[in-house]
Amino acid sequence: MSSLSLYVDKGSWLNRLHPYVKLLYILAAICIPLIGGKLWLFPIVILCSICLLISGRCFRKSLPLIAFSFTMILVIFLVQGLFYHARENVMFQIGALTFYKEGVLYATKISCNILNMLLSFAVFVLTTSIPEFVDELEKSGFPPKFAYIITSVFQIVPQMMKTKDTIVDAQRSRGMETEGKLLTRMKAFLPLISPVVMSALINTRERAIALEVRGFGRKNKKTILSERTKRPIDTFLEVLLIVLILLTLVWRIASCL
């Protein structure tokens, strides 16, 4: 594994889209069904995210993510369907288990919300290069020190994770057991994690030096090389998404009156 990021450059229109548009899309996708307050809004937004993912040629990559949330959704259905605090009307029974209508409805709402968030995030995560995104943030005045923290995590964490197998081998070579009783396994944790921690911290000293000699944290204004500029389509989509959120808000207020 050389990178933490799930981003792949497929050269699709989603890749070319300005990161801020995609961020705004997440906001819209989450807000619209919640503000609108209607259950049928969820399937629309979810379907929209799926269409976007397919058009960006990364739907297949989002499938494991969906599978990941499946256990969570299952637990929610079980717990809420059976034990929802305001349970009244029985919906159906499986053996001794009684599912209540209110609980199942509530679970559906939560699950739709999870799925919706997941897919809208996927639209951003799968199509946006982190360094490019951070460049954009810097252009908008995000402090370079924080920008560095974000990009460096994506570079350094995978390198640290690579050391796992070597450390396991090195300690096993000195006769340490990594299998067996719980106590044996607990005892093995410190000899495994300590070398990583120590060398990671020792390495921070050298990396800090490497950064200082490259002018990290200078007072002057930094050059940002990124050539990306906002295209008319980016601005158009941003406005569109904001208008959609506002429309939902107006509609909700109007329907309450």
């Binding site: 050389s2 990178s3 290069s129 360094p131 370079p144 560095y148 990009t151 460096s152 994506f154 570079q155 350094i156 995978p158 390198q159 050391t163 070597t166 450390i167 081998d169 090195a170 300690q171 096993r172 070579s173 000195r174 006769g175 340490m176 057991e177 410190l190 000899p191 300590s194 070398p195 120590m198 060398s199 020792i202 390495n203 050298e206 990396r207 800090a208 030096i209 490497a210 950064l211 200082e212 000699v213 490259r214 002018g215 990290f216 944290g217 200078r218 002057n220 204004k221 930094k222 050059t223 940002i224 090389l225």
Partner: protein, 529 residues
């Protein structure tokens, strides 16, 4: 006024008592190439870091005297400002990557971006530097996926583009393989003609002698000598400063006897019958990490008690071979026998008390807070009594030159001492076989001598020492048997004199001859001997 002026510089690291730099005064002119030599711990790196201002601003601690670079008082200039004037490159190639960029191109841009240079100018400078250092073809690669030598060149390029007046090279090749070392030295060659003032700390003194206008010899935080290479390397007391006692510099007269005394004559095959006992037998072993990408096919090898060096370029299969011997990997087919028993039936833990393995990076194993506890960890794991474990640990520490360090925190030690700790931690397990992976990395002259002594002592005790090595000089001086590997095959084996006389095979394995051998041959050719 000189470019660098140092007056009565004193420095002490926080929480320590000894002065790391003790009353240093010297001045360096623009355009000079200065070599800095001395044993590990003499204060060479500290001096380098005092010129760029990391000492004292980054480390804190106690500071005295005055350092001026290009008219600027270093102590009062933050390093991020100082870096316009002074660039620093150090040992570990990996830690020099900023981590801020995903491509080599971006990585090299990083420093100049911080300086706020115009984008057009950045592109021009970076393109030039990448081409100059032959890494243009890697510009879109992730810097973390390069080899050590390539990473180190990226680090040098990143400093060059910032156009400093002075570059400090702090043992840039000490953690690289021979190919990486060559790559970096060819870059240093190019730098010598650019007019940049260079300070280079280096253990490969022959190289340094060729480049340097003047040499600083340091010991114990003080400058012992500061003179031309001829004058410094002629001193008869070099060994007392932990510096290799004989250094060839262009024009030096050398006799064959001198070559043999200082570079050894290669270890001649030992005919003792006791060393002929077979320890490992590798029979028809096939191995691959990924299906369809075989590493070994039908590998056969027999290892007896002679100390054995395995040499070859990265990717030749050396580490895979020793991991098979240690049982960390299992052959796909074929068998490996240890003392006539097949090891495929044993677990790593079962072999732990028979075969010891010192990994290349000591930081992958050290986790205790005292050196002695670290060294006792293995012995206790394999069932030694605490008393016996302590005895063995003390003996091992003494052998590795770490007596008196028992209660020190290993991570307060320097890398070369941590390496010795790791070796001691395996020796203390009193195994029949000791496998060493690149033991000489980061060691100076004295450290290499200590490891050589350990190998002889272990052999005398009837133990088999196997080492993977890139350091041909060390192989030449210390190993009775040499195995040359390339792309998963054993190209040849024999004693060091036999192996290093086979020019064709060395060429195929892309290996170089030991310095003494090569020097002798070239001097003989030119009739200077």
């Amino acid at each position: 006024m000189s470019l660098i002026e140092i007056e009565h510089l004193k420095y002490r690291y926080p929480n320590t008592e000894k002065l790391a730099l003790d009353d240093i005064s010297l001045s360096i002119e623009k355009g000079e190439f200065i070599g800095i030599v001395g044993r590990n711990g003499a204060g060479k790196s500290t001096l380098g870091q005092a010129i760029i201002g990391l000492v004292p601003r980054f480390y804190n601690g106690a500071y005295g005297g005055k350092v001026t670079v290009n008219g600027r008082l270093v102590e009062e200039t933050p390093t991020p400002e100082m870096c316009e004037t002074v660039g620093l490159i150090f040992q570990n190639p990996f830690n020099q990557l900023s981590g801020a960029k995903e491509t080599v191109f971006g990585e090299v841009c990083y420093g100049v971006e911080n300086l706020g240079v115009e984008p057009k100018e950045i592109h021009r400078r970076v393109e030039n530097a990448l081409k100059q250092l032959d890494i243009w073809e890697y510009r879109d690669r992730n810097p973390f996926e390069l080899s050590g030598g390539q990473m180190q060149r990226v680090a040098i390029a990143s400093i060059l583009v910032m156009q400093p007046d002075i570059i400090i090279l702090d043992e840039p090749t000490s953690q690289l393989d021979p190919q990486g070392t060559e790559e970096v030295f060819s870059v240093v060659d190019k730098l010598t003609n650019t007019g940049i003032t260079i300070l280079m700390i280096e253990q490969k003194l022959e190289k340094l002698a060729g480049y340097s206008d003047r040499i600083i010899l340091m010991d114990d935080g003080k400058v012992v000598d500061f003179d031309t290479p001829e004058a410094v390397f002629k001193r008869s007391d070099l060994e007392s400063f932990g510096v290799q006692p004989f250094v060839y510099y262009p024009g030096r007269k050398v006799t064959t006897k001198e070559l043999e005394t200082y570079y050894g004559s290669g270890v001649i095959k030992n005919e003792q019958a006791s060393l002929k006992e077979e320890i490992f037998a590798v029979k028809d072993v096939d191995f691959s990490y990924l299906k369809d990408v075989p590493i070994f096919e039908g590998l056969n090898l027999s290892l007896d008690k002679r100390p054995t060096a395995i040499i070859g370029q990265n990717g030749a299969g050396k580490t895979t071979l020793v991991r098979l011997l240690k049982g960390l990997l299992k052959p796909v087919s074929g068998n490996i026998y240890f003392m006539k028993e097949a090891i495929s039936e044993k677990t790593v833990a079962m072999l732990a008390d028979k075969v010891g393995y010192v990994f290349q990076n000591p930081d992958d194993q050290i986790f205790k807070y005292k050196v002695i506890d670290e060294v006792m960890f293995g012995p206790l794991n394999i069932g030694m009594s605490p008393k016996k474990a302590r005895e063995e640990a003390k003996k091992a520490l003494e052998l590795m030159g770490l007596s008196g360090m028992e209660d020190v925190n290993p991570y307060d030690l320097e890398l070369y001492e941590r390496k010795m700790t790791a070796i001691a931690s395996v020796i203390a397990m009193d195994t029949d076989v000791i496998i060493l992976d690149e033991p000489t990395i980061a060691q100076d002259y004295l450290g290499r001598k200590t490891i050589g002594k350990m190998i002889r002592e272990m052999t005398a005790k009837g133990k088999l020492v196997i080492a993977i090595l890139h350091d041909m000089d060390f192989v030449w001086e210390n190993f009775e048997r040499v195995i040359v590997m390339a792309h998963g095959k054993i190209l040849c084996e024999g004693n060091s004199a036999e192996v290093f006389s086979q020019d064709e095979i060395l060429k195929e394995a892309r290996l170089q001859k030991p310095h003494g051998v090569a020097l002798g041959q070239s001097l003989q050719k030119s009739g200077e001997i």
